[in-house]
């Protein structure tokens, strides 16, 4: 039941938060905080196991496995299971949930109850995505988590929020529908080949389907995940959604929601369609590389801070795609690491932009400048995360990008050379961001009321810094944690010395 409890805590917490608004407008955020903290409780035992006796989990892939029946007529189960990979991403989700909460704490003043309901439900949906092992259930979470996110953007967003929210929803849903088709087709083909009607990932994994259709099914899945990632031709929802979303939603979006795409590829596409993904790999890597360069170039010309960061996400997630399809353990570990590191660094940048906007009421790069002299601490954090996003060694992003490039270099050296140019381009836009925002003479009227980071903000940002540094300097525990999940992919011989 542990996993179900994990799933239900934010759901119930959200309901309570909404209801509590009737009594006091400040109550919802406290309830949200408590329920987010409660979510750590179910994680206690797996984390404890890993930290203190790390031999046991290496043997079996699943740390926790909870199959239940749901819709027997289609043999659909409410099957939740957790392995190292999902544990890692859930931890990220919960951490970023706290960050989002912290950034919303003072920013959201209207309709707080409903806001926290949506926030918590989005998190619950994401946790569900990471836990669901039944394909149908996965799809359900995949789609449902978008609804509260849609509300977050469309109610609490900025000027052009309605457009952005609808765009976000339609893009991701279109991808989702494609996935539904592929999913049903997969089950159908599997039924034809084995006579077994099942949506269970573990069972489907035993007989990977083959044939022409497998390629198209794999493509359908991949496109659904590419939309979420977002990879190149489907990326255009992201800048709009990020720009218009409130800070907390941006954080969740960048830190967690995008990761479901990468997770989906690693969890489903690669193991379920080993042959098809081999065929897909070159084109996917090409898309990844184009995404890296294109995103970076787009980021370079943006004048809206949030848009800049959003396009940088496109660029960074291109690395994830590259890593997923490079077919070796380095690149895969790198892709997972990139998901974590990008989650933290980018959401930190969004938090920072939120803080700047809260203080100066603008995100326009041309109207900002010289913040360092006014807000030294905040600017120092800005500098740090800007540097992180350009892949400074010693931080998580570097480890990730290094491994991804290393892995993909082994497969496709020429493509990787282009991908590596992303490192230069990342430097260009990150430095531009730092240069335009924090350096130079201060612009605009002096407002003495604007103050530097308060303790809450400081602690939030600092802890994110530390996580990034930890990821950069001691990533080994994370590699170990996901090692089993990643080596279970058929193309990686599991006997590589560990």
């Amino acid at each position: 039941m542990t996993l179900f409890i994990l799933l239900f805590i934010p759901l119930i917490g959200g309901m309570l938060a909404w209801y509590s608004e009737k009594f006091n407008a400040n109550l919802p955020k406290k309830i949200a905080l408590v329920s987010l903290l409660c979510c750590w409780l179910p994680l206690f035992s797996p984390l404890n196991n890993i930290i203190f006796n790390d031999n046991s989990f290496a043997l079996s892939q699943w740390l926790l496995n909870e199959p239940h029946s749901w819709i027997p007529i289609f043999n659909i189960g409410a099957h939740l299971a957790m392995d190292g990979l999902s544990l890692l991403l859930i931890v990220l989700t919960l951490l970023m949930g706290l960050v989002a909460l912290s950034s919303a704490w003072h920013e959201i003043t209207k309709r707080t109850g409903f806001f926290y309901l949506n926030l918590l439900w989005t998190l619950a949906g994401v946790i569900g995505v990471f836990l669901a092992i039944d394909l149908f259930l996965f799809f359900v979470f995949w789609e449902v988590m978008l609804v509260p996110m849609y509300f977050l953007i469309s109610i609490w967003g900025y000027e052009n929020r309605h457009y952005a929210a609808i765009k976000f929803f339609i893009f991701t849903q279109a991808g989702g529908l494609l996935m539904l088709l592929s999913l049903c087709a997969l089950v159908g083909v599997h039924f034809q080949q084995t006579g077994l009607l099942t949506f269970d990932y573990i069972i489907l994994l035993q007989n990977p389907i083959s044939g022409d259709l497998a390629f198209w099914i794999a493509l359908g899945f991949t496109i659904a995940f590419l939309v979420k990632l977002p990879a190149l031709p489907f990326h255009s929802w992201l800048p709009d959604a990020h720009t218009q979303a409130p800070t907390a939603a941006s954080v969740i979006l960048a830190a967690v929601l995008l990761k479901t795409g990468g997770y989906g590829i690693i969890r489903f596409v690669l193991p379920l369609f080993p042959d098809a993904s081999l065929i897909l790999a070159p084109s996917m890597m090409l898309i990844g590389v184009i995404g890296i360069i294109y995103g970076a170039m787009m980021a370079f010309v943006q004048t809206d801070l949030k848009r800049l960061v959003a396009y940088s996400s496109v660029s960074h997630m291109g690395f994830v795609l590259l890593g997923c399809f490079a077919f070796n353990i380095y690149a895969l570990q790198g892709a997972v690491m990139q998901m974590l590191a990008h989650g933290i660094s980018t959401s930190a940048l969004f938090v920072l932009v939120g803080m700047i906007q809260h203080r100066y009421h603008t995100r326009d790069l041309n109207k900002l400048g010289g913040l360092w002299s006014k807000l030294p601490k905040l600017s120092a954090f800005g500098l740090f995360f800007g540097i992180a996003s350009l892949g400074m060694p010693g931080l998580g992003n570097f480890v990730a990008e290094f491994l991804i490039l290393l892995g993909s270099f082994e497969q496709y050296p020429k493509l990787t050379i282009f991908a590596a140019s992303g490192l230069i381009l990342a430097a260009i836009y990150s430095l531009l961001l730092i240069y335009k925002t924090f350096f130079g003479q201060i612009k605009g009227p002096h407002d003495s009321k604007i103050s530097d980071t308060n303790t809450k903000e400081w602690v939030t940002l600092l802890s994110m810094c530390f996580i990034l540094i930890y990821l950069g300097l001691h990533p080994q525990p994370f590699f170990d944690l996901t090692y089993t999940s990643l080596t279970n992919l058929t193309f990686i011989p599991s006997n590589i010395g560990s």
Partner: protein, 613 residues
């Protein structure tokens, strides 16, 4: 040995901790200075101690493991430090010169409100540089490599309120980043080819895997590594960030952009000398690039009017010498020159700093003059620095440069020798010019303050090193296979010694006839002068070839072409909606017709089908 190992790990960690403490606390200026300088001095003391311990040995190795970093499949990366003769020399220079410059900075930066931030960055830099030098694997080296780049960026743009400084910082970071990316690719290739990133293992593996010399893969790997070195050491064609990097505080220029960071490229090649030995083509390329750079830098230095830019171009030029030496296989002499250069260039920069400090941030040498009497200490140290730079006999620069020239002959590259000698001539010429213009002649500006005592002290110390630092460390001589001494001809022996004097005389003559400050009237000459002054117009070339097209391309796509398609989709659907809505005109007869049209169409389809079959 464990005792030494822990001492070794203290060397980079001391400045790191100091930087962290400075970052998270709010000490007053005195504590800041004590902490910063203390940590570096501590590191310097330890390295001196290690020097003392290992003085006799040429073949010692000291390692220390700080922990595990990445371990996936065959990729094992540790935070391991590796000390041998080469890195010992390097850390000695870094901590020694670093400590002096820290000390100097107390005086120089005391008035600055960001005193703490300055020392934080500086400590961080030293730590990163030490990691770079001590790394036992290329990835850790890369960490230090990028770390020093970052600190360089931060310190160039230290006075952040001036946009030009930030632009210079960005330029420095980006240009080195280009090289770094090549280097990263080199790392990948090396790992894939040789299966390790440990530097020592790489040398061994390279010998066994690439059995034949001049293997293509070896060439490629070395070429990629060389890319990193070119960027960091400001070599052609990535040299033009260095003059702009002078926007930072002068001690920073001394430490980072003269003495230490820019030599990282030389260190990288020297460190992997066995690897590079496998790639003679690349070695030749290195020598060639070194030659171009040394001439290019020296010629540009001749005509500059900004004090620090002269020194910057001279740094480029001197680094060119070191590259040339590396390229011809004279690694030891390159490192030797690196060391002496660190001393005299630090001295020059620090004296320039003192000058600037006294003259209220005046950079233009033509607005100075006649300062010999007014700033005697600065003038003395400047004179010594210039002498070493011009490699006048018995200064430290003389020994190292002579060694390089000698080994050029030994290796049989006579044409390179001629270029190097020409470079030496120009070097002496602009050193003399610099000194004459600043310190002799009419007084144009009087200093409003004398340099702080602590600054003078550091200058004097460095004067000592610049004069008497010309002792080649014994350990590094085994760096590359010894070249056969072929013996020099008389001309080859005396020309480099005599030439500086000729150059100085020429400069003196020109100074006396007031040729230096004069505006040039001959158009061709003026054009040439401009070309030189802009450092052979590399900024313009890159602007035209790379920057502008890139910006144009990005601007072209500002509204995201792909997004435009989706927007077009929206427009199309709006159009379709309008079209379909037109039929909803409320007219009953139209609706009647719709039923009948369906019927007719179905029949038509049917008849068509029937006719076809």
């Amino acid at each position: 040995m464990t005792y030494y190992a822990s001492l070794l790990s203290l060397i980079p960690l001391l400045p790191l901790f100091s930087a962290l403490i400075l970052l998270f606390s709010k000490p007053n200026k005195l504590t800041t200075a004590l902490l910063a300088v203390g940590s570096i001095s501590g590191a310097a003391c330890i390295s001196l101690f290690l020097n003392f311990v290992f003085w006799q040995q040429t073949d010692f190795v000291l390692t220390s493991n700080l922990g595990n970093w990445i371990k996936i499949a065959q990729l094992h990366i540790n935070f391991s430090l590796y000390l041998d003769a080469l890195s010992l020399v390097m850390i000695t220079i870094i901590t020694g010169v670093g400590a002096l410059i820290h000390l100097y900075s107390i005086g120089f930066m005391y008035q600055d409100k960001d005193f703490k931030r300055y020392f934080t960055y500086l400590n961080l830099f030293v730590s990163a540089m030490l990691f770079l030098v001590l790394a036992d694997n290329l990835l850790l080296l890369y960490l230090g490599w990028e770390g020093v780049g970052l600190c360089s960026y931060l310190l160039i743009g230290f006075w952040y309120q001036d946009r030009d400084n930030n632009l210079a910082a960005n330029k420095a970071f980006l240009m080195t980043r280009i090289g770094d990316t090549a280097m990263a690719l080199g790392l990948f290739l090396l790992f894939i080819e040789l299966g390790t990133l440990n530097i020592q293992d790489l040398q061994v593996q390279a010998l066994s895997v690439w059995s034949s010399s001049n293997n293509n893969m070896a060439n490629l790997c070395c070429l990629l590594l060389l890319g990193g070195a070119l960027g960091k050491s400001a070599q052609f064609p990535l040299q033009n960030w260095l003059p702009d990097a002078m926007a930072g505080p002068t001690p920073v220029s001394a430490l980072i952009h003269a003495a230490t960071m820019v030599t990282a490229g030389i260190y990288l090649i020297a460190r992997n000398s066995q690897l590079f030995q496998m790639a003679p083509d690349v070695m030749y390329l290195i020598a060639f690039i070194g030659t171009i750079t040394l001439l290019l830098g020296a010629s540009a230095a001749m005509v500059q009017s900004d004090l620090k830019r002269i020194l910057a171009y001279s740094t480029i030029s001197q680094l060119g010498y070191m590259f040339l030496a590396l390229g011809v296989g004279a690694g030891a002499s390159a490192v030797f020159h690196l060391m002496t250069h660190a001393f005299f260039k630090a001295l020059l920069f620090l004296s320039a700093g003192a000058l600037i400090y006294s003259l209220h941030h005046e950079h233009n040498i033509f607005k100075m003059g006649g300062l010999l009497k007014k700033l005697p200490i600065v003038a003395t140290s400047f004179a010594i620095g210039c002498a070493a730079l011009a490699s006048l006999p018995f200064t430290s620069g003389f020994f190292s440069k002579e060694l390089i020239l000698e080994q050029l002959i030994d290796s049989g590259h006579t044409n390179f020798w001629w270029a190097a000698v020409l470079g030496a001539f120009i070097t002496a010429f602009y050193s003399a010019r610099l000194f004459f213009v600043v310190f002799l002649g009419d007084s144009k500006q009087s200093p409003d303050k004398q340099p702080e005592k602590i600054m003078s002290l550091v200058l004097l110390l460095l004067c000592f090193f610049s004069l008497f630092g010309g002792i080649q460390p014994s350990g590094i001589q085994t760096l590359m296979p010894k070249l056969n001494a072929s013996g020099l001809t008389t001309l080859q022996h005396w020309l480099p010694i005599v030439l500086p004097f000729i150059a100085i005389s020429l400069a003196w003559w020109m100074f006396k006839t007031n040729l230096f400050g004069k505006t040039i009237t001959v158009p061709a000459l003026q054009y040439f002068h401009q070309l030189l002054k802009s450092g052979w117009a590399f900024d313009r070339i890159y602007q035209v070839i790379f920057v502008s097209p890139f910006k144009f391309l990005c601007q072209l796509n500002k509204s995201d072409i792909i997004d435009l398609h989706y927007r077009a989709l929206e427009k199309i659907s709006k159009l379709l909606h309008k079209k379909f809505s037109q039929f909803q005109n409320g007219k009953l007869r139209c609706y009647n017709a719709s039923l009948i049209i369906f019927c007719v169409l179905a029949f038509a389809w049917f008849i068509k089908g029937a006719l076809m079959s």
